[in-house]
Symmetry: C2
Subunit: 277 residues, 2 copies
């Protein structure tokens, strides 16, 4: 069934959603962005059929693809203009704080808010880096509040699969934030901490895949990610502390020259990677 989908914020994620929806489905896309140059690019590349916030009252589904602060601000200002029954979702990398603000805000206006997080990204942001294939092979996580009607979650799942996702995970905001601190936030912390080695400036000619892999996401957007880190402070601090304590195990075994202990620690790591994938 063709649906009218509003996308608010045509950056990397919103822009990729627009491109994927227009290239892979027959849904109508209303693309919103506060930057008129972005809107020009969106319309000329076919990432949306039309633009203008006044069209959002026609939408069956509104995907807010903004940072956490801006997501809440947008809903505060625009929820009253959406049709009751409209499904609203976000794409933020944290879910507890988003749900806390957006669920009641939507509820009182008869809108269905479901937290969303497509597990896809690039080292660079903005519509210029948007890609219709961004979601290929990715999981899309949804955190519906209790009592969300089945058709709401089903529509979101369907759209996620239509844009190329490999699977959908439905979970609580609490579990999402705990897992994301490990799978996404910690690697972003790590990448930055890693390239701060005094030997990093000379890596060229001495580095290969391992350097590239660990350092890749150090180009993170600091304005967005400082927000995301703070909104998941407890889980992120737990993961950093845990990693530091694990690193100390290796350090102490190497420093003590204990070959057998090093081999055991390495073997434990290998076993986990083999088991957990």
């Amino acid at each position: 069934m063709a649906t009218k989908i509003g996308i608010v914020g045509m950056g990397l994620i919103g822009g990729s959603l627009g491109l994927a929806l227009k290239q892979r489905t027959n849904h109508t896309v209303i693309g919103i962005d506060c930057d008129s140059a972005v809107i020009d690019a969106v319309l000329s590349s076919g990432a949306a059929d039309k633009t203008g916030v006044q069209h959002l009252n026609q939408a069956d589904l509104v995907i807010i693809a903004l940072s956490p602060d801006a997501t809440v601000d947008f809903l505060n200002e625009n929820a009253a203009n959406l049709r009751p029954g409209t499904i609203v979702t976000d794409v933020c990398g944290v879910k507890r704080q988003i749900m806390k603000h957006c669920v009641p805000l939507c509820w009182e206006r008869g809108l269905h808010f479901v937290g969303g997080h497509p597990m896809a990204g690039r080292e660079r942001s903005g519509f210029a880096n948007a890609d219709a294939c961004l979601f290929e092979g990715a999981y899309y996580i949804f955190t519906p509040p209790k009592g969300t009607p089945e058709h709401v979650v089903n529509l979101l799942k369907q759209v996620a699969m239509q844009i190329g996702c490999t699977g959908v995970t439905v979970t609580t905001p609490e579990h999402h934030d705990k897992m994301i601190a490990f799978t996404s936030q910690l690697p972003h912390v790590l990448a930055g901490a890693y390239v701060k080695s005094p030997n990093c400036p000379e890596h060229s000619g001495f580095s290969a895949g391992s350097y590239r892999d660990v350092s890749r996401v150090a180009t993170v957007d600091e304005t967005l990610w400082s927000q995301l880190f703070l909104l998941n402070k407890d889980n992120l601090c737990f993961e950093i502390d845990n990693l530091i304590s694990n690193l100390k195990q290796y350090r102490d075994a190497v420093d003590a020259g204990n070959t057998q202990l090093i081999a055991e620690i390495l073997s434990d790591g290998r076993g986990r990677k083999e088991n957990f994938g």
Copy 2:
């Protein structure tokens, strides 16, 4: 000019060297391995022209593709059977200890020993994972002792480029070991430390490229890598300590809820990645 090249140890690196040399050059390859099943596979896949340690006295170049301990043991037992003037190199991931043992051992028999380290690898070892394209895009690092004749280094550089390397780095064993602790050993420590998070078993459905990248080399061979870590203890401990101290910066800024400080720390990391590549 066609050269006779002996490869001792037809595992991932030795096997890939054999395949690359036979597919891309007209050099003759003598492949040596203590496992007769591996030798059968080597000969049937065309990774060597012939086998048998007795042929090594015809070689112009012998590449020992074994672990550090086994490299020194092999030279102790076989250096006397090589022709004076033969160039000998290894592929170990550490260079100070290798040079310390192998240079005098070769010198007294009229052999030219040059430390070597092709910056290529895979998550899995053994000839079954060997690949003629393994060295494509990789750097090959050489650590020639002082006084090494120019033709020796030139032949090694030529072979490195012939097997597909993107460049050759010539440096001291000290500088090699310092850089490799950062570019290669630390990411291997990190991968193992990372997958030891109590949340790792549940990552499926919540993970994407960042998880894959950081955890990739956790499948490290513990027997080889515990040796490599110990032979580079000072540099590796320095890098782990440095990383822990950098991670603490992020942790403390997040824990303090200091958005500006987090953004500054992230921005510093981004700047370094953008500058250093």
